[in-house]
Amino acid sequence: MSSAVSTRSAAAVRTRTPATRSRRRPRHAVAHVVLGVGGFLMAFPFLWQIIMSLSTNSQVRSVVPTFWPGTLQWHNYVDVFAQLPFLPQLGVSVTITVIRTVAQIVLCTLAGYAFARMRFRGRNLLLGLVLSILLVPSQVYLLSQYQIVQSLGWLNTIPGIVAPGLFSAFGTFLMRTAFMNLPNELEEAARIDGANPWQIFTRVMMPLVRSNISVLAITTVLFSWNELLWPLVVTTYANLQPLAAGLATLSGSVTVDYPIIMAASLMATAPVLIAFILLQRRVIDGIASSGLK
């Protein structure tokens, strides 16, 4: 009797555990199905780009899509360098991104610190002027920037492409906020020890905003690597364009085969995508906190 009861209750216990789990599981199942399907749709163009970059041109142009090209055409990636000015464009992209990122870190951190921590006449007015740029869409200064760069003889040069992007109101705002959130005592202590403002800035304050500087670096790299309109305006020779502008001029081109274009565009986005996957937490938190768009 008792053994029968105990087995029955054991069975009841055993059936209850899966029951509770299955009650919880459907809720998560909805999340997994929706996010899984959505995530697949998000990733599909990248997967398609990879598949197409490894196909032959006739496979790309077949009416029934080739979801898996039998033999992978790795040579498409080599052909990119022969058929397109990919290497010089990559050089331009890397150069302008490095220059802008370093310049923005230096200039925005300096100015952000002064606006947050120093007292000087006209501070609020100057800060207001810098931040007012954030309200103005880029088209409003583009024409005039072009004329300035043209009159300096900088069309089709690296200085011409990087010049306006060295200075960032957004970055200044970001760094000012970072410095404002630091406590006052550190500066006071350093000052009593006889440090001058430059020493306080470089040795005490800069190290404390390292994570904010990395947010600034991430947003600058993204903007610089992906930007199209300005480089398109100031460069006319394909060899002097960054990848974003160089690839854009391929749109509608009939002289280059699709697999080559896919391989080139994949290689152009890959550095940023790989960096993102490696640094995902930092990138996502940084962009979410800064609200950059």
Binding site: G39, M52, A114, L143, P197, L228, A244, S251, I284
Partner: protein, 313 residues
């Protein structure tokens, strides 16, 4: 004034090496050294250009250089130009479609925020990839996906019995195609910002709602959405501003010489064409001013309407 008061103990605690340390100049010339490099660049490449473009918009540029004052002629020409209304209409269509992503992103962010959800960071990465990727590079893949003859989208549509159009070269469909890509690329951004907003909602509210017997759907409607309205508002404003500046995706998906471009272009493409292709800088400056005014107006209206639906948190 508080600046002055705080300067006193500071000056006292420091050796009297600094000259002229009185009044507002508590940090001497240091602020100039810190601020000047940025300010010079900002003045030369941003502030002055804004003033100059405003001036340009009242001038006509000669074919061989030089410019003459022409009053409001550019603005008169602008409001009479049918292309202005076409590009404004396309920009509004694009903005409306991309905005459909905001409610979608609220839902997806709430799902992503499910406590104890496995693979959450993997999903986050998937949804964020399109936002990070170079717009011109992804545009080239989308162009292939949208291809009328051998694109995978039309093949898929044919499976369900729908005839697929020549997306990228048919007026009407072209802006729709670009809008789909715009929605795809901005969804991750909205989701991430909204997910950050969700994290800020106190879990006690959910517990209280659960105790009161609220279903998950009810909790989403009565707790999540109302408390998230400030973030939803922020995302909406930012999405509208960036959608009004549609250029990269349109340019790279359609190609500048696409015959469907005149009927599919955005305001910024219209500006780009006038200023840098047709060399009508004065007219282009007027377009830029119009874009500025329109974005300002739309944003102002949104802030005005904010009171009606955004909760004070």
């Amino acid at each position: 004034m508080s600046g002055f008061q705080r300067a006193v103990p500071r000056a006292a605690g420091r050796p009297a090496t600094r000259r002229g340390g009185s009044g507002v100049h508590t940090d001497g010339w240091w602020p100039v050294l810190f601020v000047a490099p940025l300010l010079i660049g900002v003045a030369a490449f941003y502030l002055w250009p804004i003033v100059q473009t405003f001036w340009f918009s009242f001038t006509t540029f000669g074919v061989f250089g030089g410019q003459t004052f022409s009053g409001v002629a550019n603005y008169v020409a602008l409001v009479q130009d049918p292309e202005f209304y076409t590009s404004l209409g396309n920009t509004l269509i694009y903005t409306a479609i991309v905005l459909l992503g905001v409610p979608l992103a609220v839902w997806l962010a709430a799902l992503l925020n499910t406590p104890g959800l496995r693979f959450a960071s993997f999903y986050r990465v998937l949804f964020f990839l399109p936002y990070i990727a170079m717009p011109t590079a992804v545009a080239l893949v989308w162009r292939l996906i949208f291809n009328g003859d051998y694109g995978v989208l039309n093949w898929f549509l044919s499976l369900v019995g729908l005839p697929g159009p020549y997306w990228v070269s048919t007026p009407g469909f072209a802006i729709l195609a670009v809008s789909i890509v715009g929605l795809w690329s901005s969804l991750g951004f909205s989701m991430i910002v909204l997910a950050a907003g969700l994290k800020a909602i106190p879990p006690e509210l959910y517990e209280a709602a659960e105790l009161d017997g609220a279903s998950p759907a009810r909790r989403f409607r009565s707790v999540t959405v109302p408390l998230l309205t400030p973030t939803i508002f922020f995302v909406t404003v930012v999405t509208v501003i960036s959608s009004f500046q549609l250029f990269d995706l349109l340019y790279a998906i359609m190609g500048p010489r696409n015959p469907a471009m005149p009927s599919s272009m955005s305001l910024v493409f219209y500006f780009f064409q006038a200023g840098f292709v047709d060399n009508q800088q004065g007219f282009a400056a007027a377009i830029a001013m119009a874009i500025f005014a329109l974005i300002g107006l739309v944003t102002l209206v949104q802030f005005r309407l904010q009171r009606r639906w955004v909760a004070d948190v």
